[in-house]
């Protein structure tokens, strides 16, 4: 009985970390993209976001939760619309959705390591 409660409790504690901010819908492999910013960093929740245009496709970049994105050095208005950026991340398994969970952003000499442990 006690063991069952312990096992159940561990799952309850472990699941949020695995599930939300889940990368389950993303590819294993890391993809790099270079494009132009069409919408700068939006630091509101649940995840910071950004949009870039690569060739003729607009990509939705999903960043970390706002506080983590801020710790990586990102701020609203820091990367202007029109700037060229290179990003790395795991793109959505569904290739019809141009969406990427973004690990790293570089604009010129500025680098933002959003998920350094995933690089």
């Amino acid at each position: 009985m006690n063991r069952a409660v312990f096992v159940a409790a561990s799952f309850l504690i472990a699941t949020p970390a695995l599930a939300h901010h889940g990368w389950g819908g993303q590819e294993e492999q890391v993809t790099a993209l270079t494009g132009t910013v069409v919408q700068g960093v939006n630091m509101s929740g649940p995840h910071a976001t950004m949009k870039i245009k690569v060739d003729n496709d607009v990509w939705d970049l999903t960043l970390a939760p706002p506080a983590r994105a801020a710790r990586a050095g990102l701020k609203t208005g820091l990367i202007p619309v029109g700037a060229t950026v290179t990003v790395r991340g795991n793109r959505n398994l569904d290739h019809s959705r141009h969406e990427m969970k973004t690990i790293y952003i570089r604009q010129g000499v500025n680098e933002y390591h959003v998920y350094p442990d995933r690089e």
């Binding site: 599930a19 889940g22 929740g45 706002p66 506080a67």
Partner: protein, 163 residues
């Protein structure tokens, strides 16, 4: 106006702009309020519905009905007031989210059920006298529907973030 338009309007509304400007912890805090509201709402509802379904018969229904309905109403208000800015932050992003189409109709059905239960003769009599079996069955039916609708709303609400 269709739903994507409404959502984009909400995102660009003063509420959306205001919420986005509140700082990096604001979403987490609003989300916390939403969860606490749901805890108050569903915790109370679960107690009352189980009692209406025949659990804990030794507790008089009238003793349970007042605190649970009061807390549930307060919880609903907290959840609703915190829910709107959570949606407004990036409302446009949720335009294609199918769980929205499950959650909000489920809430509407749950509220209609609340209204129907509260205007039923059985509910109106429960504080005054012992209920007859058909009246208890009426309230048990309301309790079953309540659990189905609220659990559907909460499940769909939780799944919005995983779509």
């Amino acid at each position: 106006m269709d739903l994507p338009h409404v959502l984009r309007w909400l995102e660009q509304s003063p509420l959306g702009v205001f919420t986005r400007g509140l700082g990096v912890w604001s979403y987490g805090i609003i989300n916390l309020a939403h969860i606490l509201g749901i805890v108050m709402l569903f915790g109370s509802i679960l107690l009352l519905d189980l009692r209406l379904l025949g659990v804990w018969r030794s507790i008089p229904l009238a003793a349970l009905s007042r605190p649970t309905t009061t807390l549930a109403m307060a919880g609903f208000l907290v959840a609703a007031v915190s829910g709107v800015p959570m949606l407004a932050v990036k409302a446009g992003d949720y335009a294609g989210n199918p769980f929205l189409f499950i959650k909000f109709p489920a809430i509407a059905l749950a509220l209609v059920n609340v209204w129907l239960v509260h205007r039923s003769p059985a509910w109106q009599a429960h504080a005054m006298r012992e209920l007859a079996p058909p009246e208890r069955h009426r309230l048990a039916l309301g309790a079953s529907l309540s659990l189905v609708f609220w659990l559907t709303a909460i499940t769909a609400g939780r799944m919005i973030g995983y779509w």
